[in-house]
């Protein structure tokens, strides 16, 4: 069996075990089980990183493997969640992030070898910058989305004086989820902006026009505008709490929709 296949199996097993332990530990309110699950997921993430590193040598600038791209996206998602876990000691996001990463990873294995040739004109390092920054910003958006959902549920209960049930009692304070929101917009917006701007510059170089009226470009500009408003209100006006949680959720949902649109619309952003 090849090293890459062994690594893939190891990654899937570790993610699956980690996800089960985190879920069981959260529901049973056993911190030690949760901590074990987090360590397993971290080991899975390391295996994932190694497999991406090995796979990088097989990628060519003139083409891309869609399975590999999906693996990069899932890696970005978990990297951001682990960054938050490390900085804020916030483990609850792993409860959602590990199963999503696992699902994306398994799906990516199914798609592996599905290679799409890029026109030679597009085979430039700009492609890496464009995709890399957008994937990272999407990961920050998803972290903001997860934190926003938990914030709204908790905030609603505290505001309306409802008792917290089960594992909700073990959740961190509202302020912690608000910090995740702040981190996600503070890092996510600049990355998203770089991703969009690099895309336009790339298009200008390749096609001689930065904007081609592609539906994906229009939606992306809309998201950028929304994100800019969110960034400004949060950073300059000091918005926090419920409004910013709702904004983070909205932006992620729209982004997810635009990503999905790539698969059904035949545009030059289509990966189908």
């Amino acid at each position: 069996m090849m090293t890459s296949e062994l690594l893939a199996i190891l990654t899937v097993c570790l993610y699956a075990l980690g996800a089960v332990c985190i879920l069981a530990g959260t529901l049973a309110r056993r911190k030690s089980v949760c901590a074990g699950g987090e360590m397993l997921a971290l080991c899975g993430f390391i295996a994932h990183t190694v497999s991406l590193g090995l796979g990088l040598g097989q990628q060519y600038l003139g083409s891309f493997d869609r399975g590999y791209l999906l693996q990069v996206l899932s890696w970005c998602l978990l990297a951001v969640v682990f960054l938050i876990w490390w900085r804020l000691k916030l483990a609850i996001l792993l409860l959602f992030a590990v199963p999503i990463t696992l699902a994306l990873y398994v799906f990516s294995l199914h798609m592996a070898g599905s290679i799409r040739q890029l026109p030679m004109s597009m085979a430039r390092p700009f492609f890496l910058l464009h995709i890399g920054t957008l994937f990272s910003s999407l990961a920050f958006m998803s972290a903001g989305f997860g934190a926003g959902i938990v914030f709204l549920i908790l905030e609603n209960k505290i505001k309306n004086k409802q008792p917290l049930s089960g594992f909700q009692r073990d959740l961190p304070a509202l302020a912690t989820f608000d910090k995740v929101n702040k981190i996600s917009v503070f890092l996510g917006f600049p990355l998203f902006t770089i991703g969009i701007v690099s895309g336009f510059i790339w298009a200008e170089i390749v096609w001689g026009r930065s904007f081609s009226g592609d539906p994906k470009e229009i939606v992306s500009l809309g998201i950028l505008a929304l994100y800019a408003v969110f960034f400004h209100q949060r950073m300059a006006l000091g918005w926090q709490g419920k409004k910013t949680a709702a904004m983070a959720i909205l932006i992620f949902v729209v982004s997810l929709f635009s990503l999905y649109a790539n698969t059904i619309l035949n545009t030059h952003h289509s990966f189908a």
């Binding site: 505290i158 004086k161 961190p172 304070a173 509202l174 302020a175 000091g238 918005w239 926090q240 409004k243």
Partner: protein
């Protein structure tokens, strides 16, 4: 005094459920009672004793050497408090055996406390144990019982959520503040008015690490006195509007007939604070804070009734968790009683081992005569070998004996009887006792001769 296996654990006591506070005061056995001349001395009836005396309970846990133990304990207790037993008896419960052990574990785990899950009782039990140890009234059985009880209490606290939620109004307020702000070190609390409950809540906030306390009162002097206790800052109530934005947590308990904080205040304050969250705790009756402020984003308001409801819910959660704790206590009680019962088996096990050693020793003496003088190293090697053979030969029968003993529903006497007859132990008892005193496996004849010469 009868052998250790015939002893029984007894608990005689009264608590908040059986006696009023006046009765508990009258029969309290406070520390001074337990000087060198202990109030409950060891006697023919009492082999071990420990006294737990708190504001909610007085309990004497003892290892009785006879069936008269409870009566002896009651007499000693009544005498120590200078009352008659008849005065004491109506309020007292007497437990023995498994019931006493289960009760002891319940008390240690705070399942029998007035406030379910309160942490003080474990500390009080540890003090009681230390006192019993210093008076040398706690020995093999009570030592084990106390240590098991501490383990049970720890398991109950970690494996159930019995102590995870606040059950006092002031502490519930602080817990809520923690749910909103998390780490308190960067936040400021403001007391409006100088009520006792507000002061208590502020004390809890300080313990939680709050950065600063501001005190607003109609009388500046009162505010200064209170602020002095928290190393805080005092100001007059008239300056409240201009300083309210500085506080993240506001505890209001004035005696004002009208509202002290209105939505108008909050509108201005939230602008100044750039919408940073604020938590208001209104424990005044009539209320100081308009309930309408709870509609503002990032503003949270709890009044006294809301806090009472939180406390009630938390009490309910603790009661649910107490059910889970029962299984832990049953399991631990079973283990302890198993150990206690196994004490009766110990003399038989010792006799089996001694008999094996004696046979080995006799056989070696016969062989040594044929071998002549042996050097020290050879003696040591043979001694080690015979010790190992005896241990290995006896291991499986002893394990089997313990298992059968645990399975027997009566006191296990039949099992002990079979073992003694099988190994012919009654005959060897005298000899084994004699050899046990030598302290080593056996004394080599050659060495004995040499020792005699040197003497």
């Amino acid at each position: 005094m009868p052998p250790i296996m015939d002893r029984q654990i007894y608990t005689v006591g009264l608590n908040h459920k059986t006696a009023s506070v006046e009765i508990r005061e009258r029969f309290a056995l406070s520390a001074p009672c337990f000087s060198e001349e202990s109030a409950i001395p060891l006697s023919q009836d009492i082999a071990e004793v420990a006294v737990l005396s708190t504001c909610n309970r007085v309990e004497i846990t003892a290892v009785g050497a006879s069936a008269n133990a409870p009566e002896t304990l009651l007499n000693a207790w009544a005498a120590a408090c200078r009352h008659t037993v008849e005065e004491l008896k109506p309020y007292v419960y007497v437990l023995s055996g498994a019931e006493a052990v289960t009760h002891f574990f319940h008390v240690a785990s705070s399942l029998d406390s007035m406030i379910l899950g309160e942490p003080q009782i474990l500390g009080q039990m540890k003090s009681a144990y230390r006192r019993a140890v210093s008076l040398k009234t706690s020995r093999v059985i009570l030592n084990r019982l106390f240590h098991r009880a501490f383990t049970v209490a720890k398991r109950v606290r970690t494996e159930t959520g019995i102590a995870s939620s606040a059950v006092s109004i002031s502490y519930a307020a602080v817990e809520l503040a923690r749910r909103i702000f998390g780490d308190m070190r960067a936040y400021t609390a403001m007391l409006i008015g100088a009520g006792d409950m507000a002061e208590l809540a502020a004390t809890h906030l300080l313990h939680a690490g709050i950065a600063q306390v501001l005190v607003a009162n109609r009388t500046l002097e009162h505010a200064r006195i209170l602020a002095g206790r928290f190393n805080g800052e005092a100001f007059e109530l008239t300056a409240l509007s201009s300083r309210l934005h500085e506080a993240d947590i506001v505890i209001s308990s004035t005696g004002a007939p009208g509202l002290v904080i209105t939505p108008e205040h909050i509108r201005n304050v939230m602008k100044k604070r750039k919408n940073r969250p604020m938590f208001f705790i209104d424990i005044a009756v009539p209320r100081d804070i308009d309930p309408a402020i709870n509609k503002f984003d990032n503003v949270y308001l709890y009044d006294i009734d809301d806090l009472k409801e939180v406390v009630e819910t938390n009490m309910g959660q603790r009661r649910e968790e107490a059910h889970k704790a029962q299984s832990i206590i049953e399991e631990e009680c079973g283990l302890f009683l198993e150990w206690l019962n196994s004490l009766a088996l110990q003399p038989t096990i010792v006799s089996i081992v001694e008999r094996g050693r004696q046979i080995a020793r006799d056989e070696f003496l016969k062989t040594a005569k044929r071998l002549g003088n042996l050097d020290q190293n050879t003696y040591d090697a043979v001694q080690d070998m015979l010790e190992a053979v005896v241990k290995k030969m006896n291991h499986d029968p002893i394990v089997f004996l313990k298992q059968q003993y645990a399975l027997e529903k009566d006191s296990g006497e039949r099992c002990i009887d079979y073992a003694q007859r099988m190994f012919n132990l009654n005959k060897d008892r005298k000899k084994s006792r004699m050899h046990r005193r030598t302290g080593c496996f056996f004394t080599p004849p050659a060495l004995t001769a040499r020792n005699k010469e040197s003497a």
